[in-house]
């Protein structure tokens, strides 16, 4: 009789919790899958760990709710007095360790992929300033400043009276977007001219800090042409919320055409040659102190 109760209540509780979990997933936003190998990896890891946590949560909370329903004084139960179970304690120490190892293996593999920027075909230097980004296409003479688009900037003033929903890409539009070629391994060198910023485009799958006096390295290779938007992610002063990042990925040929039309372009007929020059100057370790 008692065991039968536990089974019935357990099934009801589990069903209720699965419904609640399904509702939360159906309702909410999730991490974007993105357009790079790495963003896909980050997404897969995110979902893997999330589901592991959901399963553990449903089991643990399920046991708790079953206990709350059945083991209450108003049911006239007598409290048991056990305080130990060596078997159970060994199990719930050992099993989590195994699960953690299962998580650590793919995470380690993904991290090694992320931190290997060798073989980059071009370099772009990104410098954060309060509150804009500067992009330099290394060894082409092209560089420009990218800051919040004017219509967003007017609308975001205190009591501007402008409804943000009427502004296109409110707070996520810039005057000069970063244009990059698709299917090209691009190394990004990040630094800052004043305080710490963090360059983040969710569709690319990562963010990395831009720190004064340090050059951080990261890389990306975008598989689909398109416009990808992000924001500064490290508090950098009063207009931290107003320094977006916009990346436009174009097919290689279109990109080269665009690059050649930029002011200051000194010519580089082969994009893949770009990286070779700078690779000698920069080590591939993540942190290199700059003289300036």
């Amino acid at each position: 009789m008692k065991n039968q109760n536990i089974v019935i209540v357990s099934i009801a509780v589990l069903a209720g919790m699965l419904l609640a979990v399904w509702g939360m997933f159906a309702l909410g936003d999730n991490m974007p899958r993105g357009v790079t190998e790495f963003s896909q990896t980050a997404y897969d890891l995110h979902m893997l760990i999330l589901w592991i946590c959901v399963v553990i949560g449903v089991l643990v909370f399920g046991a708790m709710f079953v206990s709350i329903i059945l083991h209450r004084k108003s049911n006239g139960v007598e409290a048991a007095q056990f305080t130990h179970s060596t078997k159970a304690e060994i199990a719930w120490t050992a099993i989590p360790i195994l699960i953690l190892i299962l998580m650590a293996v793919p995470a380690t593999r993904a991290l090694i992929l992320m931190e290997t920027s060798e073989g980059a075909e071009m370099d772009i230097k990104i410098t954060g300033y309060q509150w804009k980004w500067k992009y330099e296409y290394m060894d082409t003479g092209v560089s420009f400043i990218s800051s919040l688009a004017q219509d967003s900037d007017i609308a975001r003033q205190l009591n501007s009276g402008i409804d943000p929903t009427t502004v296109d890409n409110y707070l996520l539009e810039v005057d000069n977007a970063l244009v990059v070629p698709t299917d090209t391994k691009i190394r990004l060198l990040l630094t800052s001219g004043d305080v710490i910023h963090s360059w983040w485009v969710p569709e690319l799958g990562w963010k990395r800090d831009a720190i004064p006096g340090i050059v951080n390295t990261a890389w990306t290779s975008i598989s689909e042409p398109g416009t990808y938007r992000g924001q500064c992610a490290e508090l950098c002063g009063k207009d931290h919320g107003f320094m977006p990042v916009v990346v436009i990925a174009k097919p290689r040929a279109e990109f080269e055409q665009w690059l050649a039309q930029q002011p200051g372009y000194t010519g580089s007929d082969d994009v893949s040659a770009l990286a070779q020059d700078t690779a000698d100057d920069m080590t591939t370790s993540p942190e290199v102190a700059l003289a300036d």
Binding site: L27, G28, N30, F38, T41, L45, H46, I49, C53, G57, A63, M64, S67, I68, K73, A79, A80, Q81, F82, T83, A88, E89, W92, T93, P96, M103, A104, A107, A110, L111, I112, R156, L158, N159, T165, N169, Y170, L190, I196, S198, P202, W206, K207, D209, I211, P212, G213, I214, N216, Q231, A233, E234, L235, C236, G237, H240, G241, S285, P286, E287
Partner: protein, 544 residues
């Protein structure tokens, strides 16, 4: 020792107050008090006040974020609010609340007449009001309060005006207060236990505070060093954290988080202790795995020293360091899991009742665990490159701090209020407070997970329109949760003024020394050490 003080006591007996009287009258009682119960009350009342002030700041934040566009405050003030909200809540609300509970309960739980160092106890409390007056006062200075986040990362924090010096002085004072409080706790627990109260007979709340106190002593000086270097960088032209002068801004982050991560556990270990007291009481069943709980707490404390860089995975660390800090962080899930499993096992086949303290304790177990799950997700470095500095992190640490630490503190207040005041609180209002809080806090923080995953960075005063819906839901939850805490303040006030008289035992299943004392606990207790036998050991678990 005893013969000397006894002699001195006899000598002054005729013209000073004997310490067997009740509490002295008047306002000066509170200024000069060396009584652990008075000082505990001071800490708790102060902490409630700070909780409401810090909550008011949070509501300014949530009001501005109610819809996109800036309607109420400018970005500078918004940043001051996020910074101050964190400093006030961490150093003003959560930490003093735990110290207040330690003051009230530790002597009564181990059979000691008072804290070991009563005058220092008085001082360590009375530093706080001055420190916070100065800290909050910076908001009214010409250069405004600190706006670089509570983590005070340079170079940004060095752009603060002259008020920065006051902020740092306030942090130094808070550090001194915390260290003195910690010394007092350690000295009391190690020296003043009643005969027979061996270490492994101590209630878990006492154990968790003993371990917390060691964490405090270890890391508060590190924070003091970090902010002192900021002070000299800002005002005396040193360049500890400026690359232009040979320093390193990332070094600050390493030093800060070497303090900051143990600090996180300073705010949660005593909560673990509280929950481990409450669940056995209302399950009418001894705590499952007492010794495992002690070892798990100690393991978590040790691990807290070797995981600090998981707060800074995006600064560009070498691969080896990223891997180490990822693995070390994941390991914390093991002892934390043991605690959760033990709490659930304590409930299993108990005879539970659901008074307000138990309700908050149960909510703690579920919601803190949800915060632990998101913590585990954050440990996975490749995914953290997406989560870092987004609302996902905001949701994570509010689950562990609000539905974790704060819920435990509220549970403790309901649990011990009858012992402190001699009156039962209004159970019906307590239950309303619980349900109102637990629903609104999830409306407040759960949507923030979605916001972070969808790409909303933290610490921004305005946002792109696709984030509007969840922000509005979150703000509505915020206001409802804030209102619920005013009800809590009312319930506490009402209970202090009167009500149904509490018995000594208070709760049917309560065990432990504090429940052998009458309610309210007399001004002086355990002048004679109590006799410790198995019947008064808190968890009835003497066979370990």
């Amino acid at each position: 020792m005893s013969s000397n003080t006894a002699a001195a006591h006899d000598h002054t007996h005729d013209h000073t107050h004997d310490d067997h009287h009740g509490a002295p009258k008047g306002l000066l009682r509170w200024v000069f008090t060396t009584n652990h119960k008075d000082i505990g009350t001071l800490y708790l009342v102060f902490s409630l006040l700070m909780f409401l002030i810090g909550g008011g700041m949070a509501l300014i934040i949530r009001a501005e974020l109610f819809q996109p566009g800036l309607q109420l405050v400018n970005p500078e003030f918004f940043n001051q609010m996020t910074t101050m909200h964190a400093l006030v809540m961490i150093f003003g609300a959560v930490m003093p609340a735990f110290v207040g509970l330690a003051n009230w309960m530790i002597p009564m739980m181990i059979g000691a007449p008072d804290m070991a160092l009563p005058r220092m106890n008085n001082w360590s409390f009375w530093i706080l009001p001055f420190a916070f007056t100065m800290l909050i006062g910076t908001l009214f200075m010409p250069s405004g309060g600190p706006a670089g986040g509570w983590t005070l990362y340079p170079p940004l924090s060095l752009q603060t005006g002259n008020s920065f010096a006051f902020v740092i002085f306030a942090i130094h004072m808070l550090g001194i207060s915390s260290i003195m409080g910690a010394i007092n706790v350690i000295a009391t627990i190690l020296n003043m236990r009643a005969p027979g109260m061996t270490l492994l007979r101590m209630p878990l709340f006492v154990w968790s505070w003993l371990i917390t106190a060691f964490l405090l002593i270890a890391v508060m000086p590190v924070l003091a060093g970090a902010v002192t270097m900021l002070l000299t960088d800002r005002f005396f032209d040193t360049t500890f954290f400026s690359a232009a002068g040979g320093g390193d801004p990332v070094m600050f982050q390493h030093i800060f988080w070497f303090f900051g991560h143990p600090e996180v556990y300073i705010m949660i270990l005593p909560a673990f202790g509280i929950i481990s007291e409450i669940i056995p009481t209302f399950a009418r069943k001894p705590l499952f795995g007492y010794t495992a709980m002690v070892y798990a707490t100690a393991s978590i404390a040790f691990l807290s020293f070797i995981v600090w860089a998981h707060h800074m995975f995006t600064v560009g660390m070498p691969l080896g360091a990223e891997l180490f800090f990822m693995y070390a962080t994941m390991v914390i899930a093991v002892p934390t899991g043991v605690k959760v499993f033990n709490w659930v096992s304590t409930m299993w086949r108990g005879a539970m009742t659901f008074e307000t303290p138990m309700l908050f304790a149960l909510a703690f177990v579920i919601l803190f665990t949800i915060g632990g799950f998101s913590g585990l997700m954050l440990a996975i470095v490749p995914a953290d490159f997406q989560y870092h500095d987004t609302y996902f992190v905001v949701a994570h640490f509010h689950y562990v701090l609000v539905t974790g630490a704060v819920f435990a503190i509220i549970a403790a207040a309901y649990y011990w209020l009858p012992k402190w005041t001699g009156n039962m609180y209004n159970e019906r209002l307590g239950k309303i407070h619980f349900w109102w809080s637990v629903i609104s806090v999830n409306v407040l923080f759960f949507p923030q997970h979605y916001l972070g995953l969808a790409g909303m960075p933290r610490r921004i005063p305005d946002y792109a329109v696709q984030f509007a819906d969840y922000n509005m839901i979150s703000s509505i939850g915020g206001f409802a949760f804030g209102l619920a805490q005013l009800l809590f303040a009312f319930i506490v006030w009402q209970c202090a003024r009167g009500g149904v008289k509490a018995t000594a035992q208070v709760w049917e299943g309560a065990k432990g020394l504090e429940w052998t004392l009458p309610s309210p606990a007399p001004y002086h207790t355990f002048d004679e050490p109590p006799k410790i036998d198995d019947s008064v050991v808190a968890h009835g678990d003497v066979a370990h």
